[in-house]
Amino acid sequence: SQKIEQNSEALNIQEGKTATLTCNYTNYSPAYLQWYRQDPGRGPVFLLLIRENEKEKRKERLKVTFDTTLKQSLFHITASQPADSATYLCALDTPTGGFKTIFGAGTRLFVKA
């Protein structure tokens, strides 16, 4: 069956460092992969989308890579700030035209000042 794994439940880093979060998937051939941020009690907020033919995408301090051979995406936050503390979710659309999105369990990031 299709599976998404985000390798850490929680990640603690010092302010100013780069946070790197991992998303692995099996039994999928997604057309694209998305990263969302979720704060407690709130809905997911879209951050970045990367397509299967793209290796890397950047947006301000965020960078996403997508390796379809390894079936893995890495999500980086550079120069991290305490305000970056949140849960980050990896999401894949199943190959049925984007009508079903499967989320990973998320990684809780804590950035200490």
């Binding site: 009690g41 709130r42 879209f46 989308l49 199943t94 984007g98 999105t101 989320f103 369990a105 998320g106």
Partner: protein, 112 residues
């Protein structure tokens, strides 16, 4: 900036009662979704809706659930006979011509 809205923000109901959760997607969006998130667990896909019909549904979305787009702006999720295990946050999302989904703030459903 346009956003997805959901009402109510919190719904408390007795087991066996029917509930209707309401969503107003971003206007001119064509794809609509419902997800749920049980406390401390991951966001789970329930159903997607396009062109006035269900496109995909998960195994969670059984006969107790139904969705409707009663007019040009609202998108509703009905749970016919609520169970204790239906207690969760329910999120609506909509998508336009891009692949990005925009989520609403959620409705917290508590079944007693």
């Amino acid at each position: 900036e346009p956003e997805v809205t959901q009402t109510p923000s919190h719904q408390v109901t007795q087991m066996g009662q029917e509930v209707i959760l309401r969503c107003v997607p971003i206007s001119n969006h064509l794809y609509f979704y419902w997800y749920r998130q049980i406390l401390g667990q991951k966001v789970e896909f329930l159903v997607s809706f396009y062109n006035n019909e269900i496109s995909e549904k998960s195994e969670i979305f059984d006969d107790q659930f139904s969705v409707e787009r009663p007019d040009g702006s609202n998108f509703t999720l009905k749970i016919r006979s609520t169970k204790l295990e239906d207690s969760a946050m329910y999120f609506c999302a909509s998508r336009g011509s891009t692949d990005t989904q925009y989520f609403g703030p959620g409705t917290r459903l508590t079944v007693l």
